[in-house]
Symmetry: C2
Amino acid sequence: MPTSGKSPTMKDVAREAGVSLGTVSNVFNGAHVGREYRQRVEEAARRLGYAVNSYARGLRADRTNTVAVILPGLEHMFFARLANALCRELTLRGYRMQFVTTEYSPEAESACIQAVRQNMVDGIIGLTYSTGMPDVEGIPYVSIDRVISPSIPCVSSDNYGGGVLAAQTLLELGCRRLLFLRIGSHIMGETDKRGSGFLAECANQNVECTVRRFLDEDGPDQVVRLLDEQFLSGPPAYDGVFCSTDMLAVSVVRYLSRRGVRVPEDVQVIGYDGTREFFSGRYVCSTIVQPVQQMAETSVEIVTRWSEAGTPALISIPGFFVPGGTTRDGGTANGQ
Amino acid sequence: MPTSGKSPTMKDVAREAGVSLGTVSNVFNGAHVGREYRQRVEEAARRLGYAVNSYARGLRADRTNTVAVILPGLEHMFFARLANALCRELTLRGYRMQFVTTEYSPEAESACIQAVRQNMVDGIIGLTYSTGMPDVEGIPYVSIDRVISPSIPCVSSDNYGGGVLAAQTLLELGCRRLLFLRIGSHIMGETDKRGSGFLAECANQNVECTVRRFLDEDGPDQVVRLLDEQFLSGPPAYDGVFCSTDMLAVSVVRYLSRRGVRVPEDVQVIGYDGTREFFSGRYVCSTIVQPVQQMAETSVEIVTRWSEAGTPALISIPGFFVPGGTTRDGGTANGQ
DNA sequence: TTGTAAGCGTTATCAC
DNA sequence: GTGATAACGCTTACAA
């Protein structure tokens, strides 16, 4: 067993076991091989520390056991959690993860699509905000949080349902004057449904709801100005706020605290994502938690079983509400 | 330009350009080719949308332009930042990143080492806590934050220097009764040097310093009990605390606040890592910031230029102090 | 069942 | 400088 230098190849195993190359190959591909032969091969392989080279295999068999994961970056906790879960699920199923960031290479996505066509990668799981629609017809591509076309499967948390849940929760907690704050780019996406669901449930329960929208480009000044309008004069104009992201929710909570408005006594706030402080594990606010783990499982399941079934175009996985200290229902939630 | 289906190969390009296979290969490998031929080939390649298949190349040329990155996980912000920076640096240099987590697959590391020997991966950048020393003699392996052997390069932040810096900072800020708190496993590692540096500087300036050590296994109870001993009775026994991680520092700060000890008025606390709140970008405490970006650059530089030079065994990159509200020097630092 | 040989996309070594 | 050809490690008809 050489401790360094090159690995043994099938040829070496064949020689060691005294059988032919094809037989060794058959053993490693589950084909029918006589017991005696199979044993000899397996033993020889163990002695030599042999493992198949999946890239060489891919060259012939169009299969590399590698999936590319494309995310905007890792510094946002939601992305980090997602990447982590995807890595886990892929590993569990015997796949390697090739990781790519769009943050630093806008053409990363098309490079990956190339790679699939070259059989260097078996499939792609992508969460991208690029404006152009990637041309991924006919290749194993799972999109996260963004509908690309009816024929490309998209996995996301149930944004609409999450919005409904947020409204139900605030209303149950006694809020009657609701505000929905949204931040994001111009382009419509899956995440817009958070607002739609929220508003629909408000309408359904005959409660009025105001909507305010920030753009990513807006600086903090803009946000503060807008919040001032809503809250500063007299008693708070609203007693329940749903924010499209935890980040926004935390900003709002901090703003309110600075202005002497008590949270959750005067105003209750719910965010969306399920962001936790990395050290304590505490949720940073009351929030609708994205089911990251299940989203990862589902995505991996779909790419790795691409051809096996007709895949539905849009799979929405329900999230759940968790109290995080910014609603009135019993303090800060901890742990899982 | 077919929008789906398989990619063109060198053969296709050769036919399209009316030259031989070898010539096409030469063009893509920078060898000397006549101007006329080169142009014809390049044009044909563009027309067909050709790109070399680096795995097929790897089969011959022992080079895949892929580097494996091994980290314990991504949920800790330091790891996420590191992975992000590594991805960036690798991409910039034309490498792909294969990402692996030890959290969910303890044998991930040896699998990667296999992969290198099989020429499926050109090199490894690894940050692992496994007890056994990986057998990586002779393959391109860069270890982060852990010395494996004199012949394996290790890149880390200058932990010793960081400890010195922490001591200098606390002393400059007027602290005279110092405490060093450490958390971590039994095994000695690079990070232990944080304490050594801190203590050395204390000794150097003739200031006494107490040391307390937690183990990862210790529950929060243990930590609280220990802190109670140090701080609870009477005025705080210490006025300056250096913690081996930001996580520990934040726990300590929270503990002190709950006990009515004011930070930074009564006790000043410095952590280590440079952790920031993901939404505000604020540092969670005054801290010694790990130079993640430079660590990534250096590691990538070393793996990708493996053979080109004798590499020093240990490269320590200095971090820097940043105030984060738990020291007395001017409020909370923001931004970059 | 087992062995043989062709071929996957590329590079390296030759003659030309 | 250019073009055929063998080889990289593996899979897969097909022949034995």
